[in-house]
């Protein structure tokens, strides 16, 4: 298993500003994932973050809006840039233990943009 610490747990931000979310894992992992959960919706994968390479973004998500860092095998950050009210969501980081293994999630960051 993996224990994931994510912070902040929640924040209220002004439109036009940026917020960086941190994700710390208690063990070394190859891939980390960032998801968005809009109000009342399911999880949507934003990007996959591999250590030592640029993140791979899913359709509809771009690096300028959601820059990701992955400086080592236990840590990643997601920045939500130039925020608008439409960015109000829960953002979750996740790690995976392989194709047949389950994923583990941080507790999420509830972001409200006003």
């Amino acid at each position: 298993s993996a224990v994931i610490s994510q912070k902040p747990s929640r924040d209220i931000c002004q439109r036009g500003t940026s917020l960086t979310i941190q994700c710390q894992v208690d063990s070394q992992v190859t891939m980390m994932f960032w998801y968005r959960q809009q109000p009342g919706q399911s999880l949507t994968l934003i990007a996959t973050a591999n250590q030592g390479s640029e993140a791979t973004y899913e359709s509809g998500f771009v690096i300028d809006k959601f820059p990701i860092s992955r400086p080592n095998l236990t840590f990643s950050t997601l920045t939500v840039s130039n925020m608008s009210p439409e960015d109000s969501s829960i953002y979750l980081c996740s790690v995976d233990v392989g194709q047949g293994g389950e994923a583990f999630f941080g507790q999420g960051t509830r972001l409200t943009v006003v």
Binding site: Q41, S42, L43, L45, T48, Q99, A103, F105, R110
Partner: protein, 112 residues
């Protein structure tokens, strides 16, 4: 493309009664199926998974799920629901690139 469907937005059940949350899947090849639960203001917690083997999978908190290949279903069950089981439940499947595809989620409401 791999996908999962959860046909019910909400399931209401009285405490002590059996609970079933439905999930159907569409995959090419052998499916890797998962159930997660999300409590308010929390991340997702893993409940159980099906990779191979017995069709009846037992997981955390007394939950189990039955894999049915002919009906392409993976329904989550609990023989006797508790009020504390009230939460949002997600079914998920791994796609061919190893990514998890989540269902829309089913809100479970257990009344005393």
């Amino acid at each position: 493309a791999q996908s999962v469907a959860q046909p019910e937005d909400q399931v209401n059940v009285a405490e002590g009664n059996p609970l079933t949350v439905k999930c159907t899947y569409s995959v090419s090849g052998n499916p890797y199926l998962f159930w997660y639960v999300q409590y308010p203001n929390r991340g997702l917690q893993f409940l159980l998974k099906y990779i191979t083997g017995d069709n009846l999978v037992k997981g955390s908190y007394g939950f189990e799920a039955e894999f049915n290949k002919s009906q392409t279903s993976f329904h989550l069950k609990k023989p006797s629901a508790l009020v504390s089981d009230s939460a949002l439940y997600f079914c998920a499947v791994r796609d061919n690139w190893g990514k998890l595809q989540f269902g829309a989620g089913t809100q479970v409401v257990v009344t005393p």
